[in-house]
């Protein structure tokens, strides 16, 4: 019996070691992996990061952003605001074609935006287009947006994949979301949710040709497994989320880690509708008590940089110029005492499990830092969807959050800090001067004047401290060194995969 047992052990080991070796690179198909799969195919409805990463390879908006967040052509080759800022005209690329062979015309653009504006669609991006009065299509290659009021950020909003142009015929047929027909670099050939996506190059892509014949995306939910698969050469390119895994990539001689500073920001949201966070002095005390660099170093291995409210390089202020960005516990204690809270108080902070992966660690560091001024935090970890529900209701004392950033300050913050912002319920903070600055910034078209307006906004927001902005992290991608031409983007976008080649 013992010998049989040994025989079996031997067999198992042999089978394990003899695992079929990896088929080496099918010449020009990029084998990609990510942990989180897309959740749907409707470019106007899907807002999840993972869905956008897939959809931006299939669909194209009118305009796009480059790595410096400058606006570059998409389906449109040129665009122009009228002098009064109330009319925005686009000229479409005559070469642009949908993957069903039809040319992209002004009728498709009009139909796409009307679909976004139609409340029946349920497009969250609609909130960015409320200034649109009408859309005109004077000829097949020209689209004119008539606006109710000057709206400078509308152009940046149009760079979003959620504003992609889809075929009018597919809208009429009601197949958006079931069939994916865009004008982008790749066609979706197969999608097996939470398992695999197969994309093939779109030979008729106006921005073409693509550098690879196709992309095969595997969903590997555990990022350790992604790293292992890259180590064995089974995966050429991967999207990583966890700094703990990403920082291991440079140890592998064949692999390269790409970092892009992101617009999304890690923040401790206070709820100024609840006592004692309704007191300015208490909020400022919390801001002074927090050592932002220590949060970044401990929770995120120092992977990122301390930030103020505005995260886009063109508009961001130097964090050191903002209120109490250098930890000052004495000042914090004095502020607490002035507000009548010398003995501190207890509050609950909510955070989502694993979203971002650093959430729990951030909450713990903040807990220990705030304990120094007598603020006792109870940490409540929640499943993401439960957290979102609680967050949207504004039902928290404090919340650790990773909120999405936008290339334009108005689009990024009007939802929270204008008086009729959609997320007033979450921010619970209405302030006349913040409201006025945002509206001013929206109407102003001169870049330098906008910059000055938003610098003031940035400074005031940090000083009024409804939230405690902490840091921005990196977006990580890992690749084999023979993959060339990928450009990391501050939006986390993978759109440059359209031009990537394998040497």
């Amino acid at each position: 019996m013992t010998s049989r047992f040994k025989y079996f052990l031997g067999l198992t080991t042999a089978a394990m070691i003899g695992l079929s070796a990896i088929s080496q690179a099918g010449a020009a198909t990029l084998r990609m992996a990510w942990a989180q799969d897309a959740t749907g195919l409707d470019p106007h409805k899907q807002t999840a990061f993972s869905s956008l990463r897939l959809l931006e390879l299939i669909y194209e908006p009118l305009v796009r952003l480059d790595a410096d967040l400058k606006i570059i052509p998409g389906v449109a080759t040129s665009w122009e605001f009228s002098d009064d800022g109330k009319q925005l005209t686009f000229k479409l690329d005559p070469k642009a074609k949908f993957q069903n062979g039809a040319a992209v015309t002004s009728a498709d653009v009009k139909a796409s935006f009307e679909r976004i504006l139609d409340e029946k669609t349920g497009a969250a991006n609609r909130a960015n287009y409320l200034s649109i009065e009408s859309i005109e299509a004077p000829d097949a290659g020209t689209v004119v947006f008539k606006l109710k009021q000057p709206d400078a950020p509308i152009l940046t909003a149009m760079t979003d994949t959620n504003s992609s142009i889809v075929p009018a015929t597919e809208i009429a047929a009601g197949t958006i979301g079931t069939k994916a027909i865009g004008s982008g670099p790749f066609k979706l050939e197969k999608w097996d949710p939470n398992s695999k996506e197969v994309l093939v190059a779109n030979k008729e892509w106006a921005g073409g040709p693509t550098g690879v014949d196709g992309i095969e995306i595997s969903v590997l939910p555990d990022e350790t497994a992604i790293l292992a698969a890259m180590r064995t050469g089974q995966v050429d390119f991967a999207l990583l989320n966890d700094p703990l895994i990403a920082t291991l990539v440079p140890n592998e001689p064949k692999l390269q880690l790409n970092r892009a500073p992101l617009l999304a920001y890690h923040v401790l949201q206070l709820n100024p509708a609840r006592k004692p966070m309704n007191e300015l002095a208490v909020r400022q005390a919390i801001s002074c008590a927090v050592d932002r660099q220590a949060v970044l170093d401990t929770a995120s291995l120092g992977e990122g940089r301390v930030t103020g409210p505005l995260t886009m390089p063109f508009f961001a202020s130097d964090p050191n110029s903002l209120f109490c960005y250098k930890q000052d516990v004495e000042k914090a204690k004095k502020l607490m005492a002035d507000a009548g809270f010398a003995d501190g108080f207890t509050a609950t902070v909510i955070a989502a499990t694993g979203e971002p992966p650093t959430a729990a660690a951030e909450a713990q560091v903040l807990q220990s830092q705030l304990a120094e001024i007598g603020v006792k935090l109870d940490i409540k970890m929640m499943e993401l969807n439960v957290y979102v529900d609680t967050w949207l209701k504004g039902d928290f004392d404090m919340a650790v959050a990773l909120n999405g950033g936008r290339p334009d300050p108005y689009t990024m913050y009007n939802r929270y800090w204008t008086k009729n912002g959609n997320l007033q319920k979450v921010s619970n903070f209405a302030d006349d001067s913040l409201d006025a600055l945002l509206l001013q910034g929206r109407a102003e078209t001169d870049p330098e004047k906008r910059k000055a307006i938003f610098a003031d906004f940035d400074k005031q927001l940090a000083e009024k401290a409804p939230w405690i902005w902490l840091y921005t992290g990196f977006g990580y991608t890992a690749q084999q060194k023979n993959v060339q031409g990928f450009v990391p983007m501050p939006t986390g976008s993978l759109v440059s995969l359209g031009k990537v080649t394998i040497q």
């Binding site: 019996m1 595997s218 292992a228 698969a229 979102v388 529900d389």
Partner: protein, 319 residues
């Protein structure tokens, strides 16, 4: 036979109970399909937009009406449509089930072929060094979480040998047996090792019990060889608790092995249910749980029947 029919009659009642509990439980959790799809962007929706999305996801009606619609659909084999997969729920489940079934069978095979011989081996050398060795190994096996074993295996193979099975997709056995086994062997070993440890411990103690029974002494005194005493007389009776244990474990495995599927990126039932819960894909969660419950009941029934086959003293009818 009557016994089987009686048991089968109870199935629908249990399933209805399960379906109600799942239906209510998943809706009691905060968040819905809309917040699952949009995250915090859901806050930008107008009330009308929210209503249209609720209709799209089929969550616009009051719960009892939603349940009734779903329940009546069951009789025509319609478990609803999964919003994430855009396919009928039953199709999605049946696509994932072969992997789960194969993984369950393979890991059981590994566990039993290691565990039973090891348990018997230890029992026949009771309190001697070999017994102690097996017990220590079993203890370690049982207390090491599968994600640790899994990650260590992946690390050793990828860093040490530079090989790794294809991950993320599943190749059915009938399409390419070699590729299939190369994908399944690591997960099966990971699951099988932990379970082998339990099987070893249970079969060891059951064997010790049986070996001290009168009929074993009788067999020995009649001059039966030690080999025949152990394998022919003692083992079948000692297997009864092993069958119970295996039955329960197999039932669990048919519900998917979430952690192992997650680590090895296997598109099995466990991960499907997990994702469906996170996405609030109500129809898929309901359908899958119902399916898993049905499997569990069938396995349980088979286990009870197996008792009777193993030990003639057990009479199912009389119970």
């Amino acid at each position: 036979m009557n016994y089987v029919i009686r048991r089968l009659k109870a199935f629908p009642l249990v399933l209805i109970g399960v379906s109600v509990v799942v239906f209510v439980a998943i809706r009691l959790v905060p968040g819905d399909s809309i917040t699952a799809m949009l995250g915090t962007e859901a806050g930008l929706l107008t009330p009308q937009q929210r209503d249209s999305l609720a209709i799209y996801f089929g969550i616009d009606q009051p719960w009892p009406i939603q349940y009734w619609r779903w329940f009546t659909g069951l009789f025509s084999g319609d478990l609803g449509i999964s919003v994430t997969y855009g396919k009928p729920v039953l199709t999605v489940i049946l696509e994932r089930f072969p992997l789960t079934l194969e993984l369950a069978l393979l890991s059981m095979l590994i566990a039993l072929s290691i565990g039973v011989p090891a348990g018997v081996f230890a029992a026949t050398r009771n309190e001697r060094p070999a017994d102690l060795g097996v017990r220590i190994a079993a203890m370690i096996g049982q207390s090491t979480p599968s994600f640790v074993v899994g990650l260590i295996l992946i690390y050793i193979l990828s860093a040490g040998f530079g090989v790794l099975p294809t991950m993320g997709i599943f190749t059915p056995f009938w399409q390419d047996p070699l590729e299939n086994l190369s994908q399944m062997i690591l997960p099966a070993v990971t699951l099988g090792c932990a379970f082998a440890a339990s099987v070893t411990r249970v079969s060891r103690s059951a064997m010790l019990d049986v070996l001290s029974d009168d009929y074993v002494r009788t067999a020995r005194s009649k001059g039966a060889s030690e080999r025949s005493v152990i394998w022919r007389h003692a083992l079948p009776n000692a297997l009864v608790p092993v069958v119970t244990l295996s039955g329960i474990e197999f039932g669990y495995l048919l519900g998917g092995a979430v952690i192992v599927e997650q680590i090895y990126a296997l598109p099995g039932l466990g991960r499907m249910v997990l994702e469906a819960i996170l996405q609030r894909d109500y129809a898929l969660v309901q359908g899958a749980v119902l399916f898993i419950a049905l499997n569990f009941m069938i396995v349980n029934l088979l286990v009870d029947l197996a008792y009777a086959a193993l030990d003639p003293r057990i009479r199912l009818e009389g119970r």
